[in-house]
Symmetry: C2
Subunit: 365 residues, 2 copies
């Protein structure tokens, strides 16, 4: 028998959305972009030489960081590049949360708004740190008492995904500022979906209202159509970045990812038209689902959360019906979400196929 | 002021070898391959499409794992693919070592043979776990009393790099088996350099003498000329792999790395001739250094550890002299290594340039 830390022994790992490989599939379950990245990004891939592959990559992604800094009007020392947003989340738990869940202390754990990205729970379990849950309202809004609860949580890290997943709802930046002001630890604003939103939280990390304790998470997986390369980054006060950097694996991003991520940020204007298209398609899909009787939450992301008019049983049966036809959407079997499906915004043609399949199921059921 | 865990606040991060970018440089400091990967690997890179980039990669690197299992004659569930060997090391610390260095306990920390890969110390500090040091002999051999000290260490994880870095010396597999038998935790055998050695430790994880507590680390950085993509893997009993897997970031390897790593293992026969060449060149370089008066340790890696005949001061001055001529080797300013340089095996032409520069310095000094 080998010894394994009890928190790891007991851990239920994060379950990613299915990655089916059938040809005829319609994959609207993991919020990938329906469009491929622009040609300039593919060209950057093809330009990688054997000479680059045989050598260690730049250890701190300097070039990417300077491009990102220029893009957002911040300093390079305010940027940390990470292997997807997920690595940034892990680093934040490692640096700001104290291990020792069993000790009975409620301090220096993590505070999360629930429901939310289930990886937060897994990372807290791996770090063996207490988790303070602040329940969102039924409409997935941050409740009135959140500031007070956060202030008394003793947490080292608070996580707010904004726009919110899985609802798509955005909290205004003024509210985030109020949360940051009372937060006893670092407030991580997970902006994985921000490219599809009307407002970002950059004003919390630069300019006259910048906070010393706010860390923004950005991802190239959704808005930049690069889920395959795993690239994210953090934006914060240099002191936060410096500490996260210490806990980072020494060469955390390979040379190919760095080159592609650099090309992607440089192609930001091309991506903008893609984001505009997704917003337009999101509105069309929302109308289509509403016409079928679904209640759809207002979304500023590349997905919609739709409540089935027929309740939990019908939702489950629709989910299975869609899957049988190779149409993949996301179902979360947790309280508050059991009568809902999360559907990634696709193309108009993909929406037609989805809505037709949903209609057939409603007609039958 | 933000709160940062005291162990992170106090941490001296790992310092990677320099990555200079001058044109005329001779880079023999980070044990990269002097040869680029074979064409089939470059072709795998160019075959990656925008469609693959926009989608999440396979979460558990199934395809790579089955190729690696076939390559080594083990089961796929005995393989975990990781973002370089470094991720595997971090996962092992996370899973097998208990945090809480300050508590005075000496149990469930990590045991290391010193000197060794300095990242082990950094990972122990990040995990905030006790570190038991077992000093190697002056000839960098595991000392006679190591089994007894390991047995009483109470460690959750013991790390042996074999062949050893920075000396290049290999410990016979029988000795590793003896260490595994008394080790109270998992014995991680870091085989980052095994492709250049006369023997590997596969018999400790498969076949009649397999141990339940041995974890082999493999890397594509050195032997496969792919330091740029950050790809490593572990081989062990399925129970060990399963636990490591729980602590892994959900998509820990990007799609490009996976494709290239698969192509690399498939091209193993091509790589073999490269490994043979490195061994031959290693012998030539060893002779060249010995002729100049250096004492060179027997090496089964792609580097040599050479003791300067003139002592510490001359070693430092030679290191600076080489650097001024854009010749980069590695110097470790730690006890036992201060009069030595670690030199990566390069090509015959590169060795000529190096030896000429060394000769000039010896003549002057």
């Amino acid at each position: 028998m080998i010894f394994v830390r009890p928190n790891i022994e007991a851990l239920s790992p994060y379950v990613p959305g299915e990655q089916p490989s059938a040809n005829d599939q319609l994959k609207l379950n993991t919020n990938e972009s329906p469009y491929s990245p622009p040609d300039s990004v593919i060209q950057a891939l093809h330009a990688v030489s054997g000479e680059l592959l045989r050598r260690y990559p730049p250890a701190t992604s300097e070039n990417f960081r300077s491009i990102a800094a220029r893009t957002h009007g911040v300093k390079p020392e305010q940027i940390i590049a990470t292997h997807g947003g997920d690595e940034l989340l892990r680093l934040a738990f490692t640096v700001f949360c104290t291990p020792g869940n069993g000790s009975g202390t409620t301090s220096r754990g993590a505070a999360v708004m629930t429901p939310s990205y289930s990886l937060y729970d897994v990372l807290a379990a791996i770090q063996d740190t207490p988790l303070h849950r602040i329940e969102l309202t039924e409409a997935f809004e941050i409740p009135a008492g959140a500031e007070s609860r956060l202030a008394h949580s003793g947490c080292g890290l608070a996580l707010v995904v904004n726009p919110h997943a899985p609802s798509g709802r955005r909290t205004p930046v003024q509210r985030l500022a109020a949360l940051a002001d009372v937060c006893p630890g670092v407030l991580l604003v997970d902006e994985a979906y921000v490219d599809f939103a009307d407002e970002d939280a950059l004003s919390l990390v630069t300019g006259p209202n910048a906070k010393k304790n706010v860390l923004l998470l950005r991802s190239l997986s959704k808005g930049y159509a690069l889920a395959g390369i795993r690239f994210g980054y953090g934006i914060a006060d240099p002191a936060i970045i410096q500490h996260l950097d210490k806990a980072r694996d020494s060469y955390n991003l390979n040379v190919v990812s760095q080159r592609l991520a650099e090309a992607a940020l440089e192609a930001r204007e091309t991506y903008r038209s893609l984001w505009t298209q997704v917003r337009k398609d999101r509105e069309d899909l929302r109308l289509g689902l509403q016409q079928l009787g679904f209640v759809v939450f207002p979304s500023e992301t590349n997905f919609l959360l739709a409540t089935h008019p027929g309740g939990v049983a019908k939702t489950k049966s629709l989910f299975a019906h869609l899957k049988a036809q190779q149409i993949y959407v996301r179902y979360f079997p947790v309280p508050g979400l059991e009568d809902k499906l999360r559907i990634t915004v696709g193309t108009a043609v993909q929406h037609q196929r989805l809505l037709a399949a949903v209609t057939r199921h409603l007609d039958v059921g």
